[in-house]
């Protein structure tokens, strides 16, 4: 989508622009309700899980496109000019020169977006997906005195998942860091 917005023709880039605007402008809960309850009114019946996956995916795609596009814009235009001057096609330039840099530069933003998606799965509770929150509910409905420990446990599970995934993405970021871009100020 980021490539389409930057390199696509007017139609493609406008389509991507509108998509980004719409899905970044609507709360996730509204997206879920639109897909699950709204679509069923016009005969498209999706089960709760499919609706949740679709909703999260559509919204996250809009945010991720922004992340990749900002990475793309940070690469000096001269590098594309140089690649084209060597005789690379537009596609070769994107694949060999731009994409490897875009992916590296996107890791921090992407890691951020990933944690948001992971945590927002809890909102799927609202349309009846059996996710972590609902599992917890099954337990505390039967044992009301367990409410606090159960929510604490849920919090810890989310926290551990998020932190460990951020750690591994941080590791990737270090591994594929571009040499010479480290901050070398010592004080």
């Amino acid at each position: 989508m980021a490539m389409g917005r930057t390199f696509g023709g007017r139609v493609l880039s406008t389509a991507v622009y509108l998509y980004e605007k719409v899905f970044r402008g609507i709360p996730l809960l509204v997206i879920f309700f639109l897909i699950y309850f709204g679509l069923s009114q016009i005969g498209i019946n999706l089960n709760p899980l499919t609706s949740a996956v679709l909703g999260l995916g559509l919204r996250s795609a809009a945010y991720q496109a922004q992340i990749f596009r900002s990475a793309l814009n940070s690469i000096p235009e001269g590098q594309s000019t140089a690649a084209r001057s060597l005789g690379m096609s537009k596609l070769q330039t994107i694949r060999s020169i731009l994409l490897p840099q875009v992916l590296r530069l996107s890791i921090p933003g992407w890691s951020n977006e990933f944690t948001i998606v992971l945590k927002d799965t809890s909102i799927a509770f609202s349309i009846g997906v059996v996710e972590l929150m609902r599992q917890g509910r099954y337990v505390y409905v039967r044992n009301p005195e367990m409410v606090l420990p159960i929510f604490l446990l849920i919090a810890v599970i989310y926290f551990v998942l998020v932190v460990s995934i951020n750690k591994s993405l941080g590791f990737l970021e270090k591994k594929y860091r571009m040499k010479g871009f480290e901050l070398t100020v010592e004080r």
Binding site: I75, Q79, A82, S85, L86, G87, M88, S96, Q101, M178
Partner: protein
């Protein structure tokens, strides 16, 4: 047949006409230097030749092929036209060696081993063999520009276009780049936009003086420096010479 023929090239950006009909030719092995005040279309001329910015009017012929023809596969043409940039424009995510070999691999479809061997030879040619595995950000400006020259040389181009190759460099780094350029002059055909009058006088076969989007005068360095036909040529060269400390 000349190797490169530029015929009546016109180029405008918006309302400003930058090139107002430029004609010249180049033969194999020649070095020509383009000089002139800023904003007279010197860089635009280079970009019109390799079609980064195609001219609106006029023709460019390379080895008997009319490359301004939209039907020509421009990517095939560009591999024969080297380009060295003012800001180097190296690929930041690749080592010096990979910067030179990537064109061989992706454009000329050489296999990786052969491409890197060839790239190493070119790095030797510009004296950067010890820095082959360093990234652009780890190299000095002069070294980066030499990688840029090696990258252009590696493609074995018919001609290399230099767009103010030393303008972004500290004075003490200019020398190493000019030395490399001097060492390859007459091995490859070079069209150089520069303010380095020493290079123009010692290396160029011909100096082209441009102003206001046209070629005012061109000729061998001796004639241009000592007996220019146009008053403006003399004035410009005099001003540059005093600025850059040439006698």
């Amino acid at each position: 047949m000349h190797m490169l023929e530029v015929k009546n090239v016109h180029k405008r950006y918006g309302k400003t006409e930058v090139l107002k009909g430029v004609d010249f030719t180049m033969d194999k092995g020649e070095t020509k230097v383009v000089i002139g005040p800023s904003g007279t279309g010197k860089s635009t001329l280079l970009r019109c030749i390799n079609q980064l910015h195609p001219p609106e009017q006029g023709e460019v012929w390379l080895e008997g092929v009319k490359i301004t023809d939209p039907k020509v596969d421009i990517n095939k043409v560009r591999r024969k036209i080297g380009f060295v940039f003012q800001d180097f424009n190296l690929f930041t995510h690749l080592t010096a060696l990979r910067n030179v070999s990537i064109g061989l691999e992706k454009v000329l479809k050489m296999d990786k081993g052969a491409a890197e061997k060839r790239a190493m030879d070119e790095l030797k040619r510009v004296g950067l063999e010890p820095h082959a595995n360093q990234y652009p950000a780890e190299l000095s400006g002069g070294q980066q520009q030499r990688v840029g020259i090696a990258r252009a040389l590696a493609m074995d181009p018919t001609i290399i276009l230099f767009d103010e190759p030393t303008s972004a460099l500290d004075p003490e780094l200019i020398g190493e780049v000019l030395e490399v350029m001097q060492s390859i002059a007459h091995e490859v055909t070079m069209l150089v936009v520069t303010h380095e009058m020493g290079f123009a006088r010692n290396v160029a076969d011909e100096i082209i003086f441009m102003e206001g989007g046209v070629i005012v005068e061109s000729g061998p360095p001796k004639q241009m420096f000592y007996s220019p036909k146009h008053k403006r040529t003399g004035e410009f060269l005099g001003k540059i010479a005093s600025l850059y400390g040439e006698e």
